[in-house]
């Protein structure tokens, strides 16, 4: 079998560039959604907040500085081709890219070594969280994001059982968004993972926040659920910055997977309006 050799340095350079880019340049889907929301809002406060967010994101892009000071814990989804070999340690190459991005890109170092006792800053924002899947092909697709914790802390997971049905799923998602209220920097992106196991549902929810807000689930029933939830969330009145208005979310993205006969896990991963992610193929 022919195997394509990829230089570890290429992996490092790609990760570095993706993390810097996503922290400076907001996605076009988010900018379009913010501009559309500005037209929709009636209240002067909501309009003012949205205008300032748009101005902020434009400043960040023009000056190549982080659009939010919380440049996040780096999260990477890697689709690793089965006909690829990296000449070096792939994990080390990725973490080196994280280190270089946060040190050289003027990004904030927000990682502590031990969660409970020491809480000492690692000073280079490593280690990143890396989710790897093996896929057919001779390339490596890396999707990288910086996940802020104002919104991450507002996330929720529940092991629903099949009897809850679609209504139970929607209720749990709406409850999580309502409980988050003004805290996760609305307007938010709501990532939902349904199915599989406890940990996979959470991973799917994170993956959902990395999807553009102008895309829909391929199954029309879930696509309709995304639309219905977005409408319901925007009727809650939380609004931009939680100061009231019609724009509480810019999008609801659902990802699904097969699950057990006894289960229906639902995870809600909330992302702020600074929904940062970028993707490249090596």
């Amino acid at each position: 079998m022919d195997v394509r050799i990829i230089d570890a340095a290429a992996v490092t350079a790609t990760v570095k560039q993706l993390l810097m880019d996503c922290n400076y340049f907001i996605g076009r889907d988010i900018m379009h959604a913010l501009e559309a929301a500005l037209d929709t809002e009636d209240s002067p406060v909501a309009k003012s907040v949205l205008s300032q967010i748009i101005e902020n994101d434009n400043i960040a892009a023009a000056e190549e500085i982080p659009l939010c000071q919380d440049t996040g814990l780096a999260v990477l989804f890697v689709e690793y081709g089965d006909k690829v070999a990296v000449n070096g340690c792939f994990e080390d190459a990725v973490q080196q890219g994280v280190r270089e991005a946060y040190e050289e890109g003027y990004l904030r170092k927000s990682v502590v070594s031990d969660p409970v006792f020491d809480r000492v800053n690692t000073r280079d924002n490593t280690p990143a969280v890396i989710h790897t899947t093996i896929v057919p092909g001779d390339g490596i697709r890396i999707t990288a994001g910086g996940k802020g914790f104002g919104s991450e802390n507002m996330s929720a997971i529940k092991m629903l059982t099949p009897a809850y049905g679609a209504e139970g799923v929607k209720q749990f998602i709406l409850d999580a968004v309502r409980a988050a209220g003004p805290n996760p920097c609305p307007p938010i992106v709501v990532g939902v993972g349904i199915g599989a196991t406890f940990e996979r549902a959470a991973q799917l929810a994170k993956k959902a926040t990395f999807r553009a807000v102008d895309t829909r689930h391929p199954d029309p029933r879930y696509a309709a659920m995304e639309d219905e939830l977005l409408t319901a969330i925007n009727q809650m009145g939380i609004g931009p910055a939680g100061l009231g208005g019609k724009t509480t979310a810019l999008g609801v993205n659902i990802e699904t997977a097969p699950t057990h006969i006894a289960g229906m896990p639902v995870a809600v991963n909330i992302c702020c309006h600074a929904a940062r992610h970028a993707s490249a193929v090596i």
């Binding site: 002067p44 902020n56 400043i59 500085i65 000071q69 003027y106 003004p182 100061l243």
Partner: protein, 176 residues
């Protein structure tokens, strides 16, 4: 939308003139501090020890800035979620802290302490860090340098934009 210009330090008259929902531009100096600094200050207070920084009459901004690019006074510096400081806040207000800037809702204990001490809680726009940094002219390290971004600093600000979220009578923009 009318905007009130306020010069820091806050006077009691300033505080009484502010109502929940007011848009405000702050000019003067304020302190920065977030989770780890609050924990340390609180632990010192519990021990009855002296604090390394004077809080009386001050405004504290819940922020952990990104590093400043060369040529910039400060890096992007937007507010962090305030509720994480709630456990420590009443003690600081009782000590004479007059204002806080952050984002999001506060506990009833914090609201009670705001009313009791005639203080004010401002909200800045979360995620508007690059824009907010334009209103910060200067930073000076005061203590807890080992905390990195969480160190306590003094910021000199001009027309720092925020909204009165909880006023000294306990009116609250987040309650609806």
């Amino acid at each position: 939308m009318t905007v009130k210009k306020i010069t820091l330090p806050l006077t009691n008259e300033d505080i009484q003139s502010l109502h929940a929902g007011d848009s405000v531009l702050l000019t003067g100096t304020l302190l920065t501090g977030r989770d780890a600094a609050h924990k340390r200050l609180f632990e010192l207070l519990q021990k009855g020890a002296e604090l390394p920084v004077e809080l009386r009459g001050e405004v504290i901004y819940y922020v952990g800035p990104a590093p400043a690019k060369p040529g910039y006074a400060v890096g992007p510096a937007g507010p962090t979620s305030s509720y994480r400081m709630d456990k420590f806040t009443p003690a600081l207000l009782d000590l004479g802290l007059k204002g806080m800037i952050g984002k999001g809702a506060r506990s009833q204990e914090v609201i009670d302490a705001i009313v009791r001490n005639k203080a004010v809680y401002f909200a800045a726009i979360g995620g508007a860090a690059a824009l907010i940094a334009k209103s910060i002219q200067k930073e000076e390290l005061l203590c807890y340098e080992d905390l990195g971004t969480e160190a306590v600093r003094r910021y000199t600000v001009e027309d720092f934009p925020c909204i009165v979220a909880i006023d000294c009578e306990g009116n609250n923009v987040y309650k609806r």
